[in-house]
Amino acid sequence: MTGKERIRTVLEHREADRIAVDFGTTPVTGIHCKVVEALRRHYGLDDHPVYVHEPGQMLGYIEDDLAEALGTDTAGCFAPKNSIGVLNKDWKEYRMPWGQVVMLPAKMVDSFTPKDGGLYTYPEGDNTLPPSGYMPERCYFFDSIERQQGEIDDDNLNVEDNLQEYSEIDDETLLYWKTVTDRAAQTGRAVVAGFGGMALGDVARIISMAIREPRGIRSVAEWYMSTVCRPDYVKELFDRISALAVRNLEKIHSVVGENVDVVYVCGADFGTQTSQFLSVETLDELYVPYYKRMNDWIHQNTTWKTFKHCCGAIYPLLDSLIGAGFDIINPVQIAAKDMDPQRLKDEFGDRVTFWGGGVDTQKTLPFGTPAQVREEVLKLCDIFSKGGGFVYNTVHNIQANVPVENVVALMDTLKEIRS
C-alpha cells in the first residue's frame, strides 16, 4: 500500500497492511526543531539547519528524507504565512538561545529584538508595532503577548472586529494551494492540508500573533468568559466565519480537487487536564451548528476527511463532536481525566478515527526511559489500531526537551510493529 492508500483505508475503519503514521503535517502533530535536528543526525541525513515552518511552537519541517526515515504516510500542506503572519520564504539562518542554528523567514529574523533576557517577535515581522510574541529565557518557543486594548465595551462590541483576519480567498492563494497540494500528492503519501479560516474559538487564533492591530475580543480569559456571558456575539461570529469558510472551500476545492485527503478544520481546545471549558449543551448550542455547516459541505462535495484537534479531558464532548461531522479526533490526550484508551476505542472507535494518542507526552516521552516508551507504544497501538480508525501520532507535538533516545525508541518500536 502507498501512504495515501494506507491512510484512506484506516479512515474508512478498515485495517491496512500496517499501522498508518503521521509526523509533522499539522501544527499539532509536529516535532520541535531541536528534536528534528537530533533525528536528522541519528538517521545520518544531510546536515543542514532545520526549517521552522511554525515559529509559535518552533516546529521543524519534516523534509522528504526524514519523512521516509520515519516511515510517515502523510504529506503536509501548510498556509503560505506562518503564525507570525510572515510568508514562509526568503529563509535566513538564526542561532536560537539554546544554541541551535535554524532557518526562519528573513523578515521575521530581521525584526527580532532581544530584551529582558528573551526574544521579542512582531506581527508580520514589523517591529514598528508592539510585539506580539515573546520567547523568555529557558523557553523553546514564542508565546503570544495578549494585546487586548482596555476593558471590553459591551455596548459597542462589533462582530466585524473579530473578523478582521478573515477574508475571501484571492487568486494568488488559490494558486499556492494548487501548487503545494499537487506537489504533496506526487509523494504518494496522504495529503493533509491546513487551509485555515475554519477555526471556531481557537484561542491561539483569538490572540493571534499575526494581526497588526487586533480589535474585538482578543484575550484568552475574555474569550472563555464570552462563551458564557456573550453567547449571541459568539454565535454571530461563528455564523459569519463558517459561511465565509464554505465560500472559500468551494473555490479551494475547484483548484485542488481530490488531491487532498484530510483537511484540518479547527484546533479549539475544549478540555483542561481534568475537566472541560464548556458543557455539552453549550457545545451543542454555540459550536456544533457551525461545525456542521463546514463539515457537511466538505462531505457532500469532496472526498476529504475532517480533522478536529481538541486537547484535554473531552470524553463527555466526543459524542457531540462526532455528531458535528468530524471524522478525526486529535490529539487523544490519554493522560487527561476519563480518557482511558480502551474505553475511547470501545465507545467511539467505529465512528471516529483517533489521530494521536500513541504515547503520553506529558510524562512518558519526556521523562520516561526508552523501555517505558516502547512498552507504552506497543500497548497503545494494540488498543487503537484494531479495525482501523487509527493514525499513529504522539499526544500533541514532540517537545524540545524530549531525549532523542526516547524518540528513537518510539520510532524503532513503530518499525517493529509495522514490519
Binding site: 528573551g118 515573546y134 523568555p136 529565557e137 529557558r138 523557553c139 523553546y140 508565546d143 484568552v220 480569559a221 472563555y224 468568559m225 462563551t227 458564557v228 456571558c229 483542561t272 487536564q273 481534568t274 475537566s275 472541560q276 471549558f277 464548556l278 458543557s279 507526552t361 506529558q362 510524562k363 519526556p366 521523562f367 517537545q399 524540545a400 526537551n401
Partner: protein
C-alpha cells in the same frame, strides 16, 4: 440570598459593584460584607465547579465580579483591621508565560480570604524568595504549563529551603502530578483552582 452574593455567584461584575456600594450604604463594614456575602458566593461557585455543573469560564466570571467588589472595599479597610487566612505569593515559573490557571488560583484564594501577591509570569527563584520575605508569606504557589519549565520548580523549592524561609510551597499546572509535586519536595499540589483553596487552607491549618 443577597444581591452581592448572587452577582458574584453568577459572575455579574457591574451588579457586584453596585451591590457592594448598597451594602456599604446600609452600614455594613467591609469585613462583614466579605464574610457574609463574598466568601460564601466564591465557595458556592467552587462547589458547583467541583460537581461539574459549571466550568472554568464561570469561575473566571465570578472571580472578576469578586475582584470588582473587593477593589471598592480595599481602600476602606484600615491596615491590620482585615482578617486574612494567610499571605500567598504566586507566580508562573521562569521560562513560562501561561497565566490563565495561575490567575484563577490567585483570584479563588483572594476570594476565599487569603491575601495574594501575584508576581505574574516568567518568575525567577530569586523573585519568589524576595517577595515571600518582603510580604512574610505563608505560602508560595508555583505554576507551570510546560514540560520544559516544570523542572525549574525543583530549583525554586531547593532555593526556598536553602533560604531558611518558613514558608509552605504549593505547585500546580496541567502536566504536573501529585508524584511530581512530592518528588520535588513541594508541600502541596492541586489540579484545579478550587481544590487549591482547600490545599492552601490545610497548609496554613485553617
Amino acid at each position: 440570598m443577597d444581591n452581592l452574593y448572587n452577582a458574584i455567584f453568577k459572575g455579574l461584575a457591574p451588579v457586584a459593584k453596585t451591590s457592594v456600594q448598597e451594602a456599604l450604604d446600609s452600614g455594613k463594614t467591609p469585613q462583614e460584607i466579605i464574610d457574609a456575602s463574598m466568601i460564601p458566593a466564591m465557595e458556592a461557585i467552587g462547589r458547583e465547579f467541583e460537581a461539574g455543573r459549571v466550568f472554568v469560564p464561570n469561575l473566571l466570571l465570578s472571580a472578576r465580579a469578586m475582584k470588582g467588589a473587593l477593589d471598592i472595599l480595599k481602600p476602606l479597610m484600615m491596615a491590620g483591621q482585615t482578617t486574612t487566612l494567610g499571605t500567598v505569593v504566586i507566580g508562573t515559573v521562569k521560562g513560562d508565560l501561561h497565566d490563565i490557571g495561575k490567575n484563577l488560583v490567585a483570584s479563588m484564594l483572594e476570594g476565599r480570604g487569603f491575601k495574594v501577591i501575584n508576581l505574574g509570569t516568567d518568575v525567577s527563584k530569586e523573585r519568589f524568595i524576595e517577595a515571600a520575605r518582603e510580604n512574610e508569606a505563608d505560602i508560595i504557589c508555583l505554576s507551570a504549563l510546560l514540560t520544559t519549565t516544570m523542572d525549574y520548580m525543583k530549583d525554586i523549592v531547593d532555593a526556598v529551603r536553602e533560604s531558611g524561609l518558613d514558608v509552605k510551597i504549593m505547585v500546580g499546572g496541567a502536566p504536573l502530578t501529585p508524584d511530581f509535586a512530592s518528588g520535588i519536595g513541594a508541600d502541596g499540589y492541586s489540579s484545579n483552582a478550587n481544590e487549591a483553596v482547600a490545599v492552601a487552607k490545610q497548609l496554613v491549618a485553617v
